[in-house]
């Protein structure tokens, strides 16, 4: 997973050598897992059948879901509906399963059916309607969550004991735990699928969809099947969770989502597609789960547990990339070369030649009849992906007017809308820039919280203190973001792993800094910005306007902006064109850290104080707003004004839903449907 650039094939290795190379990610993950597993067992002094059985059962649900996600990720997709499907299957089984053998078998099949059906919907929308995977699966995630809450609004229900025993008991008492059989079956399905035409087409589509299509691969059919397979595995994971817990809980799958992605990344599958495999994901899942045992054996203090988990995640991946070909080794080699060149006076910088100025042929003379293409014609492509969000916004506003009246003519409504949008509008620039480079920043929640706590704690209600504390907070966020970039560039860590680990580390930092009780509060000046009035206008509205102008210029008209797009389109092409890819990536993550820090300060100003966990609500919306605004999750395409439109659309929609008396579950479903509709209606 470390080597982003393809390796030069200087000589043919023997067959087993190349097989080893292909499965390197999975093998490394396996090595890390075995070391941890043996370590835990040695230290806790017990290596028994029960121990093995517990660990096999503990990680099985995550492993099954991670295998499913791997199918999608290999095609270059992204499936956010995984956790929601697990929850839905769990509550359906909890509500419906009887005690007869027939009913248990039936509901086992229902579990797979639900997963397959959701997967098929995702697959058709992604493959045949060519919608972005992240938008589609985000929308289905909300819809499935809503349906789950309609089936069961609180935990309860019971799973038949025989079903529990069949999946989590013993296959051969004393020798073979049933979960081992379940996971082995999943691995077998993967192995069979991988060695068919379908398996090959997965990798082909993920590597280069156009090339695969040109080579005669049925790319759409392959993608559809990938989502269906993924859904089937989530269904299986849901069935396993049901057996493991013996009952149902509508929220059981939600917290699994990020861990599923972490397991896939840890197992060596590259986001963006084309490389990796499900064996690695299974091992990745077990590695994540055994972290719990490691923390217990090490007696890690509570406040530091997320730090230790983050460190473990980074070390596990770093262990995999260690060696002569690791990005770090490459950077060191390059730095040594540069030093050598400087010493001997052979560096290119010492021998400046006048820049080449090729003479361009004269522009063809414009015939007088044809008018120059208008602004609309020149920006047609950009408009095509920016406008849907605004069209959706207009519809939502009209609906609000129809439902409540007093909206379109009420400046107070628009003022409130912009104030509520301000957090996401700012986050969208940071997350959007990172997404444009082809990455993802999962550290936002705790950058927001940590900076909010540090700034509120330093300000303590004094405007004078705010003058130095606010810049300090912004610098802190920027530094954290740059650190994310450094890990990604220098050590070649996958962005999801690096930023997820950073999120855990920052959570620990916030807990330790505040001792669990954040104190201090925003100054009157800070509060005025978020809640004061200048002639009916809240000051932050002006800030958002200025921010949007600067952000549009930054991405659209600066060197940095150009480089971001270049890196997103192809890091390799960008590097050959003389773009400093590493510096640009670090800049993008630092910008994201800065934006998150700004939001932390604004949130503390809005509420008057900072509280632990206040950033948790903003991670998924920040990604959603960016992609609803037309950006491509795989990078290279997007416009800040589109993202802003996405932010306004999502905020207006949730404002509209808040004003209604619809039950929460129905609101989730409506939210998902509207997001789908907005993107579907005006897709390119």
């Amino acid at each position: 997973m470390s080597a982003v650039l393809p390796r030069p094939a200087l000589h043919r290795r023997k067959a087993w050598g190349s097989a080893l190379a292909r499965h390197r990610g999975a093998l490394v993950a396996l090595a890390v897992f075995l070391v941890l597993f043996c370590g835990v067992n040695l230290l806790s002094g017990s290596f028994t059948y029960f121990q093995v059985s517990f660990i096999a059962s503990g990680g099985a649900a995550l492993a099954l879901a991670a295998v499913g996600q791997t199918f999608v990720v290999l095609t270059g997709g992204f499936d956010l509906s995984a956790g929601a499907v697990v929850s839905l299957v769990n509550v359906v089984l909890g509500a419906g399963m009887g005690t007869s053998a027939g009913s248990q078998l039936l509901f086992g099949l229902v579990a797979l059916g639900i997963g397959g059906a959701v997967g098929a919907v995702n697959g058709v929308l992604v493959a045949y309607l060519r919608m972005q995977p992240i938008v589609v699966t985000l929308a289905t995630m909300f819809i499935v969550q809503g349906i789950t809450l309609l089936v069961a609004d609180k935990p309860g229900g019971a799973i038949a004991p025989e079903f529990v025993a069949a999946l989590t008991g013993d296959a051969v008492p004393g020798w073979l735990p049933a979960p081992v059989v379940v996971v082995a079956a999943a691995a077998l399905v993967w192995w069979l699928a991988r060695n068919t035409r379908f398996g090959v087409s997965l990798y082909a589509v993920g590597s280069d969809e156009d090339a695969a299509f040109a080579a005669g691969v049925a790319t759409r059919w392959a993608k559809l099947r990938a989502y269906v397979m993924a859904g089937l595995f989530y269904g299986a994971a849901g069935a396993f969770v049901s057996a493991q817990t013996g009952s149902a809980d509508p929220l059981v799958g939600r917290a699994m989502l990020l861990e599923i992605f972490a397991a896939v990344a840890l197992g060596g599958t590259a986001l963006g597609g084309g490389r990796g495999g499900a064996m690695g994901s299974i091992i990745g899942a077990y590695t994540l789960m055994i972290a719990v045992n490691v923390l217990l054996v090490l007696n890690v203090p509570a406040f530091y547990s997320s730090v230790a988990e983050g460190a473990l995640l980074i070390l596990a991946v770093l262990g995999g990339s260690a060696g002569r070909r690791s990005p770090l080794a490459a950077h060191v080699r390059l730095a040594l070369l540069a030093l050598e060149a400087r010493r001997t006076g052979t560096s290119a910088a010492r021998h400046r030649s006048p820049p080449a100025r090729p003479r361009l042929p004269d522009a063809p003379r414009r015939t007088s009849e044809a008018a120059p293409p208008g602004w609309v014609a020149r920006n047609r492509k950009t408009l095509a992906y920016v406008l849907p969000a605004y069209a959706g916004l207009a519809l939502v506003l009209l609906a609000t007017q129809a439902l409540f009246g007093n909206t379109l003519t009420n400046p107070g409504f628009f003022n409130a809308l912009v104030v509520l949008s301000s957090f996401l509008a700012i986050l969208a620039l940071g997350q959007g820039t990172v997404i444009l480079t082809g990455g993802l920043d999962l550290s936002l929640p705790w950058v927001i919280t940590l900076v909010g706590i540090v700034v509120a704690g330093s300000v303590r209600g004094s405007d004078a203190a705010a003058l130095w504390a606010v810049p300090l907070g912004l610098a802190l966020g920027t530094a954290v973001g740059a650190l994310n970039g450094l890990g990604i560039v220098l050590f070649g860590l996958p962005p999801i792993v690096m930023t997820l680990a950073m999120n855990g580390i920052l959570q620990g930092a916030a807990l330790v800094y505040s001792g669990g009780t954040p104190d201090g509060f925003a100054s009157p000046g800070m509060r005025w910005i978020m809640t004061g009035h200048i002639g009916g206008l809240t000051p932050v509205v002006v800030v958002v306007g200025a921010f949007a102008a600067v952000a549009t210029l930054l991405l659209g008209s600066t060197l940095f902006g150009r480089r971001v797009y270049a890196v997103g389109n192809s890091p390799l092409a960008a590097r050959f064109s003389g773009v400093g890819v590493g510096a640009t990536l670090m800049g993008a993550y630092a910008l994201s850290g800065f934006c998150a820090a700004l939001v932390g300060i604004l949130l503390a100003s809005f509420s008057g104080q900072a509280s632990l966990g206040m950033g948790d609500e903003y991670l998924l919306p920040s990604i959603a707003a960016v992609v609803v605004g037309g950006s491509l999750i795989t990078g290279g395409r997007g416009h800040y004004l589109g993202m802003l439109g996405g932010v306004l659309l999502l905020t207006a929609l949730s404002t509209l839903l808040s004003g209604t008396m619809l039950p929460h579950a129905v609101r989730d479903i409506v939210f998902g449907l509207v997001v789908l509709g907005a993107v579907l209606a005006l897709r390119d």
């Binding site: 935990p155 229900g157 809980d249 217990l296 669990g516 809005f606 509420s607």
Partner: protein, 379 residues
Amino acid sequence: MKTSTLAGAALASLPFIAGAAGLGHAQEPAKDKAKVFLSMSYIGNDWQAEATNMIKAMAASPDVASRIDLDVQVAGANAQKQIQQINAMVQAGAKAILVYPISPTALNQVVKNACSKGVMVIAYDAQITEPCAYNVSMDQEEAGRVTAEWLVKVLGGKGNIVAVTGVPGTSVDTLRTKAAKEVFAKSPGIKIVAEAPGMWSQAVARTELSKILATQSWDRIDGLWMQVGCFTADQMQLESGIAEDKLKPCAGEGSNGGRVQMLPKGTPVEGANGAYKPMAAPRISYASPPYSGAYALRLVVDKLSGKDVPLKTVLPLPIVTNDTVKLCKTGTWQEMSEGCNVFQPAVVSNPGWFASIFSAGTPEVGLKAALSAEPEKLR
């Protein structure tokens, strides 16, 4: 080269194992003390951190410290991890496991297994439905009913109200909200004009209320029923120019900020700031009390010393109204036992901090326990 990467992987994991070996020897527990674990689901919010502080203080109080060794572990929000964690604790020789369960049902199988090995499993605040588990919590339905009845009475059975609930899909939220709605349904004059999930967070409550106010205005709202957020709701009313004596009645909220607002206007407090000041706000205050974990640990010690402990402990509903609110001077357990229930803003500078920390059954923990995990000094 391949072997070198594998070796690299092994090397990278070595520090953990080496560190573990060192730690393992350094912290060899005394043989005569019972091993007790605390399994927390999630630690990243104010309530959890405060409850942990109180548990740690209880564990550090001389009587408890002489009998047990407490090891605090955090599993995170994923139920799968908590299942694995509890299993690992049983394997590690736990005599008792204190649990903040992420789900009332997901842990049933693992808890049953722990019980069968003679381990006492006790859940605080949230419940575990497995019959062999001990539970320490309050009656959520009663909380929803009592607060709703108060609001109906204050409004004279007539008016528009806004409901801000907790985390949808949890038992606590469903029970509270359902009980409250049953009360409201009995008074035809009461109309719920808007409802939003507040996720038990002041920050979310503010965002959701702002969304509601974008389409409704304060003059169309007569009262609020919230699980968390009355402090914020009053702050927002002041910002929008509503006079202090015209604040809408609000049911809910056990935070110190909310209780300071309930004190009669002009009560001398230190460190008042912005909306964090006495203003005689009409309010009924309740919240899940953060002392429940410390109380559960007390029960563990009782049980391990051979006393009988009931499987189900229902904590008294910690209700405070404008008539019963009383400022503490120092916040010792002794002083709280005489009826004070709100603390100086200068001492508790975070208004969102939960103030229901008094229990007659836990003389080991007072204000210092909740703030900095220090037990009370015994006289």
